[in-house]
């Protein structure tokens, strides 16, 4: 027995000793765990708390409301309207095939839309709402609401979308918005910052130029989300800021009127206030319906637009380049007078053609004009006279004046698509073509042909700066009140003068009066008789190619030529002749002669603009009274 107890006690001691060693180990491990807890929960608490919050909160941006673009009178040319949309939450739909079948009976939900929706569905989480249709008609929408109880998981939503006037008269100015592309994101830091699903961006025109201020600030909705990204509850809502609205100088009424006039032509009409530089109207034809782009243009519509030979998508007023033709003659005359190359009495005999530098140069009038002085030269647009003037003046001096008056550079600079055109001179040719200047080229440059390239809006600015007495103006399309306050109607001194001797400008203007209002004048047939509408203008017919000797023999009429070979018809004008206020330019692509095609349109536009002049000034002064 003692032996047994001895063994027990020995063994118990051994076990307890081993247990003691283990226990010290245990204490060590416990201390380790406590220090780990201390490290995680106290030392690194801030880090882990922020990580936990990052898990927990997620923010969704809300599409901001785009600012509105108005015309001069506050008429909306780019508006936001309610659109009726159908959203779907895929996880709430019990049977998606059945839903699609039902939808196809109620709304326009064809195979193509169905397939694109299925494609989009695959990329989305099941609880994220997806837009099934973003532009339902009212009847579709109301029908949908009627059958809503039979369809689970879909929700009719009223949202805001861009709406442009349907006639498209201002499409080229306003441009349009559409879904953001990868390229848009690459080009715009702002878009990268505020990219919200469903946000539209301006693709061209003012929508593009004004995109940053007009787009607004997106609102923020903060949600608590679970591990699967499902929203549990809304924690915060910051309302977005509506984008800035803009008033333009455009008169929507004139836009519509003009647009109608040149509806089926490939043409452009520009109207500018000669003092303020306000662009009252700038129409390019044919036009397009920008609304089609807002919700994604269909392939057929897109193909129709880009295949149209009249190029409806191009803003011809700014991106169309045309030789100015005879509309340049007032500038040639002014340049010659200013440089004392000729006097108004300088006379040339026109016999219909002249041989110079081993070539024959023709006048548009085959029989010739006979003896011409400067005023008659402009009035009857005698080419032979201006060959001689140009020859004496030289192309370099001419180009200086032309550039001063606005040719060869961008007029607005606000539009990406605007082009600067070409005012040729010897340096330009050497640099761009790499050849020396031929003297013969000076002659055709003198009648606005050859390398000369200008946009309709440049021609309008040129006319405006002549008509206001030879002062530089800053054309604008976005209305800016401050500009208006510093410029008064007779505040000429505030402008930079472009002439050396104002008499020369006056002479040129008077010659244009003659061209429109005196017999033999090129646009005499398109004159206004009523005193308040009397205007002065200069026609131009610019060749799109060299007329061959054979064709001259055949005396081909314009209308007998294929469309693409016909001349461009141009016309520049200012009105009213007494106390002029507006400058006009009309370009009809392949329209024939300026006097027959362009001037009659200008006549109508002039009347319309002058009719609305009182309204315009009154509206402006009323606005000031309100302030």
């Amino acid at each position: 027995m003692p032996l047994f107890s001895e063994t027990f006690q020995n063994k118990a001691k051994l076990i307890s000793r081993r247990m003691f060693i283990l226990s010290t180990l245990k204490v060590g491990v416990f201390v380790g765990i406590i220090s780990r807890l201390f490290y995680l929960q106290i030392s690194e608490n801030i880090k882990y708390r922020s990580l936990s919050d990052k898990n927990r909160f997620r923010e969704w941006k809300l599409v901001p409301q785009r600012g509105i673009i108005e015309d001069f009178f506050g008429e909306k040319i780019a508006d936001n309207v309610q659109t009726f949309q159908l959203h779907m939450i895929p996880e709430d739909v019990p049977n998606i095939e059945e839903l699609f079948f039902r939808l196809s009976k109620i709304i326009d939900f064809n195979e193509r839309k169905r397939n694109s929706l299925i494609k989009r569905l695959k990329k989305r989480k099941r609880w994220e709402p997806i837009i099934v249709s973003d532009n339902l008609s009212w009847s579709e929408f109301s029908k949908l609401n009627l059958f809503l109880h039979e369809m689970q998981g879909v929700k009719p939503v009223v949202a805001l979308a861009r709406k442009y006037s349907k006639d498209g008269s201002s499409s080229h100015i306003v441009g349009y918005v559409s879904d953001i592309s990868v390229k848009d994101l690459e080009n715009s830091k702002l878009l990268r910052e505020i990219n919200v699903p469903g946000l539209k961006t301006g693709k061209n025109g003012l929508e593009k130029f004004l995109n940053e201020p007009i787009i607004g600030q997106p609102g923020i909705q903060r949600f608590e989300v679970n591990a699967y990204g499902k929203r549990i509850k809304e924690l915060k809502l910051v309302k977005g800021i509506t984008g800035e609205s803009f008033r333009t100088t455009i008169d929507k009424e004139v836009q519509k009127f003009t647009s109608k006039l040149i509806e089926n032509k490939s043409a452009s009409v520009c109207v500018m206030d000669i003092y303020t530089g306000d662009i009252v109207s700038m129409v390019s034809s044919p036009t397009f319906d920008p609304n089609k782009f807002v919700h994604g243009i269909s392939q057929e519509d897109w193909q129709a637009l880009i295949k149209d030979t009249k190029k409806p998508l191009i803003n011809k007023s700014m991106a169309g380049l045309y030789p100015p033709g005879s509309t340049i003659k007032p500038i040639v005359a002014l340049s010659a007078l200013e440089n004392d190359v000729i006097s108004p009495k300088f006379t040339v005999e026109c016999r219909g053609s002249v041989d110079l530098y081993d070539r024959t140069y023709h006048c548009w009038k085959e029989k010739g004009h006979g003896f011409m002085n400067l005023r008659n030269g402009i009035k009857q647009s005698c080419d032979i006279y201006f060959y001689e003037v140009a020859r004496r003046l030289g192309v370099d001096r001419l180009s200086v004046t032309a550039k001063q008056f606005g040719l060869g550079q961008k007029v607005l600079g606000t539009f990406l698509e605007e082009r600067s055109g070409v005012v040729p001179n010897t340096k330009w040719k050497l640099k761009n073509i790499g050849k020396g200047w031929y003297l013969g080229e000076t002659l055709i440059t003198g009648i606005g042909q050859g390398y000369f390239q200008s946009t309709p809006i440049q021609l309008c600015l040129m006319t405006a700066q002549l008509a206001n007495g030879g002062y530089k103006i800053k054309p604008k399309i976005i209305y800016n009140e401050q500009d208006f306050q510093t410029t008064t109607e007779d505040g000429g001194e505030k402008f930079k003068q472009l002439y050396r001797n104002q008499e020369n400008v006056k002479f040129v203007l008077d010659a244009q009066f003659g061209a429109t209002n005196e017999p033999m004048g090129t646009s005499y047939r398109s004159r206004h008789v009523k005193p308040e509408y009397i205007y002065a203008g200069k026609t131009g017919t610019s060749q799109t190619r060299t007329i061959t000797a054979e064709e001259r023999e055949l005396k081909l009429k314009q209308k007998d030529l294929p469309y693409k070979k016909r001349d461009h018809a141009l016309f520049t004008a200012f009105a009213p002749y007494k106390n002029p206020r507006y400058a006009f330019s009309v370009v009809i692509e392949h329209g024939g002669t300026g006097s027959s095609a362009a001037a009659p349109i200008a006549k109508k536009v002039i009347r319309k603009v002058l009719d609305r002049h009182k309204l315009r000034t009154k509206y402006q002064s009323d606005l000031f009274k309100e302030v």
């Binding site: 247990m19 283990l22 807890l37 927990r56």
Partner: protein, 374 residues
């Protein structure tokens, strides 16, 4: 003196009740209550399935614990081998008729409950080894003759469980066995040798690991390797614990668990949930409760008059300690995620049953601490 040793325990029921270790009883009760609240929080404050069944299980097993306490220590001594072999047979049965869930075959369908025999093995192995070593004089413990059976006794279940596959439980079984062997006085140098051999065999062992086990271990060393896959659990668990701070986010306020960022929140990661809601202070209190339980088990073991009970209590105390620390170290990112429940706190019937049986035997040791074995 001598008379004491041979005194037979013949206490009445009331004597036995008075002999209860009320500290231990209260600590277990406290832990049980805490676990029910934690479960309630894991269900976002709904008294639904997990909370309910956890509550029922705890109530039933607590009763079982008290009933077991009244068994004489002699009973456990006598039935130790039987207990072990029954569990071993159950483990084999798992291999044949087991239920497969999430890729591993761990459970037996016993109609009333799904039993996980590997959990029971944790406790029966300790009972088995305590019985085995009771008669062996300490000088013979390191004899090769006597190491053979103990070695087999934990290696067989170890391989059975590892093939289920359940690496965590298998390791815990092996550790439980090693602890008892250690306590008997097995030579330290042999431990060192086997440890060195084990290290040499590690590369071989790794080749036996399942791919998911490998990625888990890799994820432990660098959770950011695959933050949404293998590293996800550990990253989210650390965020939950760390964001708890000193005082925690408050009961039912743990955003990590409430919003489902925390995986397995009612089983292996229940401590994370608790720690997120009750912070450093709460975790410390929970840790203290565990420490006290372990202390009480060891203290009971120190007071008993026979080596079977002593070996069992010390062995169980150490094993209990290992269960607690392995789970905590795991969720705190100190050990790879191997799947080890936190005693009593974690949801899981078999684990709780095994712990409660162990605690019952310990309590029985306390009540009958003057018993001698025949």
């Amino acid at each position: 003196m001598e008379k004491n040793y041979f005194q037979r325990g013949n206490q009445s029921i009331s004597d036995k009740i008075l002999a209860f270790d009320f500290q231990l009883l209260l600590l277990i009760l406290a832990l049980g209550i805490i676990s029910i609240f934690a479960m309630y929080s894991s269900e976002r404050g709904n008294f639904s399935y997990y909370t309910q069944s956890h509550l029922y299980r705890f109530s039933i097993f607590f009763l079982l614990f008290i009933i077991i306490s009244f068994f004489k220590i002699q009973f456990w001594y006598k039935s130790a081998y039987l207990f072990y072999f029954i569990v071993l047979i159950l483990l084999l049965a798992v291999h044949l008729f087991g239920i497969t869930a999430s890729g591993s075959k761990r459970w037996l369908n016993l109609f009333i409950i799904n039993l996980q025999p590997s959990e029971l093995m944790k406790i029966s192995l300790i009972v088995f080894l305590a019985r085995y070593y009771n008669k062996i004089p300490s000088q013979n413990v390191s004899n090769l003759k006597y190491i053979f059976i103990p070695f087999l006794s934990f290696m067989i279940p170890f391989f059975l469980v590892i093939s289920q596959p359940d690496l965590g439980t298998a390791l815990l079984i092996a550790i439980s066995g090693l602890i008892v062997i250690w306590l008997t006085g097995f030579r330290i140098k042999y431990f060192l040798y086997s440890f060195l051999i084990l290290i040499c065999l590690t590369p071989v062992g790794i080749s036996f690991l399942k791919p998911y086990q490998k990625t888990r271990i890799l994820a432990f060393f660098d959770p950011e390797r695959d933050p949404l896959g293998a590293g996800y659990q550990i990253i989210q668990s650390k965020i939950a614990v760390g964001s708890g701070g000193i005082f925690g986010k408050g009961f039912l306020q743990g955003s990590q668990s409430y919003l489902d960022y925390l995986p397995e929140k009612h089983t292996d990661f229940i401590f994370t949930l608790f720690s997120e809601e009750f912070g450093f202070i709460g975790s410390l209190i929970l840790l203290l409760i565990y420490a006290f339980i372990i202390y009480r088990i060891a203290a009971i073991g120190a007071e008993v008059r026979n080596n079977f009970a002593r070996l069992f209590c010390f062995g169980f105390a150490a094993a209990f300690f290992v269960y607690v620390t392995v789970n905590m170290a795991m969720v705190l990112g100190l050990l790879p995620i191997v799947g080890a429940p936190l005693p009593i706190m974690s949801y899981g019937g078999s684990s709780m049953l095994s712990i409660m049986i162990g605690l019952g035997i310990v309590m029985s040791c306390k009540i009958h601490n003057r018993d001698e074995l025949r």
